[in-house]
Symmetry: C2
């Protein structure tokens, strides 16, 4: 498999499905409509939306189509939305409120937990300049995080206005060509702290691995002005007109009972994309998360977004106000390990000994009763069959040998109890010796007895 990609199986897929179904249920309850777009977009269409305008197509998988036009795999779900809106502007309901969930691809250096294909879940409202549209997205984000099992106080949605930063950049006379680098630098405030960001605003910064990132090249006075905004120590920012927009959003939220414990302003929230024009949002977990190395870490952002009133105009020339938020599903799942809202149902494996027809009849009967049941379809060896059931993580094995059948009985083996044992069993004779984790029942009571054994395990 190419590097930076991965296969996933069983419970991980079921967990992601549970997350996605839960988010979708909340978004649909708010009346957002699903949209699906293809994996491919024209490269020149995508290029207009890339975060790093200085390096178009950096980080994108691209190929040439048969008619010599360049195609790219979508990098996010915002560019396809803007393209869809531009293509169908007349016929769309306005505002157009859509959600989209799907894979995005980034042709970047992979690392631990950093993949080149991952799942995003976006909601956007296109065609409304109203603060109510932003407020709605934030209410929906709170409802979603709670539907996923987070309690009040375990998350907070932070909000800021990009106009505040723009005001500072104007006041400090920072050139347009430097602003992309400045944005990416201040967006790392959370992770690198004051000193790290100061280095990135100036000459540059060397990280622990020795890699050097070139800075924005600001002078010390400019750096001070930017840092005052981030640390909230500057004078007068609270009077900026940007605060009026934020206040209008907060009014809707507060009146709906979404208080400071759930949505709060924070002037250090920037978001790295240069297309934001107004409010920016970021949802964070407030509790420490244990990473794969067993260390307790501050996990940071699990969702982010903001208002981007100029983006659709890059396609159509027509100004269309828009706002959106994106949940990083894979990131969120990683943070909420063990809280998955869904998993695969318990499995029953019916062994196939000398009467495969009888085994199929039993698994069909169990399925008809709503249970998850299969007949073993591999080799005839008893030990292989039991090992298979164990490796599948099955809850119960159903066994009907010739003796049992003659007496109209079947044996149910509780595999959770008997797991250790099963590994050492090589023959049916060995196994018959061991009766701890099993029970023999009447064949006609199969469904009831399997249900009872499953219930006993809950």
């Amino acid at each position: 498999m190419p590097r930076g990609f991965r296969d996933r199986r069983g419970s991980e897929i079921a967990a992601e499905r549970g997350f996605i179904d839960t988010i979708r249920r909340v978004y649909e309850s708010y009346g957002f409509e699903p949209l699906e777009t293809p994996a491919f977009e024209y490269t020149d269409a995508l290029g207009k939306f890339l975060p790093d305008v200085d390096r178009p197509n950096e980080g994108v998988f691209s190929l040439k189509d048969d008619d010599s036009q360049w195609l790219s795999l979508r990098y996010d779900l915002t560019a396809p939305l803007a393209r869809h809106v531009a293509e169908h502007f007349q016929s769309l309901p306005k505002p157009f409120r859509r959600y989209q969930v799907g894979s995005v691809w980034r042709n970047e250096k992979p690392g631990p937990g950093r993949f080149r294909e991952f799942t995003q879940f976006d909601a956007d409202t296109v065609g409304s300049a109203s603060p109510a549209a932003d407020a709605e997205l934030l209410m929906m984000t709170c409802d979603t995080l709670e539907a996923l099992g987070l309690k009040r106080g375990e998350y907070v949605v932070k909000m800021n206005s990009r106009k505040l930063l723009d005001g500072v950049l104007d006041a400090a006379e920072i050139h347009v060509s430097q602003r992309g680098t400045v944005l990416r630098a201040v967006d790392k405030f959370d992770r690198l702290g004051e000193h790290g960001v100061e280095l990135l605003l100036g000459a540059g910064r060397k990280d622990e691995s020795g890699d050097f990132t070139k800075g924005a090249g600001l002078d010390p006075a400019q750096i001070r002005q930017v840092m005052e905004l981030l640390t909230g120590t500057g004078a007068g920012y609270r009077q900026a007109p940007a605060f009026h927009d934020l206040k209008a959003i907060l009014d809707v939220l507060r009146s709906g009972g979404y208080d400071e414990d759930r949505v709060a302003t924070d002037t250090s929230i920037i978001r790295g994309l240069d297309y934001y024009t107004g409010a920016v949002f970021e949802a964070r977990l407030t509790f420490p998360v244990t990473n794969d190395e067993g260390e307790s870490i501050i996990f940071g952002s699990v969702a982010g977004g903001g208002r981007y009133d100029d983006l659709v105009a890059r396609f159509t020339g027509q100004q269309v106000p828009a706002t959106g938020i994106s949940i990083g599903v894979s990131r969120l799942m990683n943070a909420l390990k063990g809280r998955a809202p869904s998993s695969l149902a318990s499995l029953v494996v019916v062994l196939a000994l000398d009467d495969v027809h009888g085994s199929f009849a039993m698994s069909a009967e169990l399925r008809a009763a709503g249970l998850r049941a299969e007949t073993y379809v591999g080799t005839k060896k008893f030990g292989d069959q039991l090992k298979y059931a164990d490796r599948r993580g099955a809850a119960i094995a159903v066994i009907e040998g010739g003796d049992e059948r003659a007496k109209g009985e079947v044996t149910l083996k509780d595999l959770a109890l008997g797991t250790e044992l099963a590994k050492s069993v090589e023959s049916r004779a060995d196994w018959v010796q061991e009766r701890r984790a099993q029970v023999t029942v009447k064949r006609e009571r199969l469904v009831e007895e399997v249900r009872a054994m499953l219930a006993g395990k809950v």
Copy 2:
């Protein structure tokens, strides 16, 4: 948008989700485990599995990775499975029974209803040579089609053995280099009939559009031998050893009550892929389907598969028996238009007139009661708001003007009844004149009255 791709919205997405959820529920009830693989595979890995071995990478989207290795988007879900099995052979349960649903990409000439990205749903059993494994897939296919709403008699799963054809190709001394073309020709028997296939087995065939397809170049005696198999007129084929395998599969099916009305043998079933080694399957609809031009057509195959015992060996050198079936989800949905097992819930739009906070409170109340409800977040114009609700296909608009609020009332407008009307309403004053499709109720009875109006429409 690049040609051959498409966007999808609302009800079409909900319908596909309903199909996929239903198939998944049946497959999981049979104990099949989900697998997800990335969009990309190494091109050389994929090449081993392409249907047309004479033209490797024909029809595949490929690009060069940064380290100069060629990557391709998956063409089907079988090659990624074989690669996964080869990578994880030791740790997998055996047999390994997995399902996978997802997009596949084909770099082919698009046409009406023929896209370059579409959804497949596959189930495969790897590591079992038992006819029970094939039989299980066929039972599951029948159960799935019925779970999707097809009645007995509306579908039939046909079965054949590739060994029968191989026997004929051997007997007729057809060279290995010609067999790929022969396979693709006989696979078109259903669509082109006897004469068309005879042309493709010989010098070639010109289609209605004038395109010429080169034939396999068989001589008349060879053509006759192949045609006898397809038309069932040949002597002695029923005595072939291939029939023993088919008989063993049928035994399991018949004992489980899957009779000839659901699964039947048919010597004209070939399946075009050259990697099949034994039983091949094809599920067909038996009723005429109306196409987009309003014509009644025989729809043909909605699922197909077979046994491919040599495929994993192309990776590992190790012979691993395997069998599988693939449902063309987009094709099946197209055939079952109007039978979708799921759709979006009815939508309630709460207009935002002079008290947006009050409107948000109402939509929140409706959502808390399990309904799908939104507050309008666009412009303030009343006519725009009602047009929006209409364009969204909302069932009900909730209206609370100043007068209503003073009296502690709200107005519910039944949009299905009032659709034509709403289009011509430009102001609240116009609208107040028209009372046919609306009712004014107590604000505190909002949820009950909305429920009652929705129930009246079912």
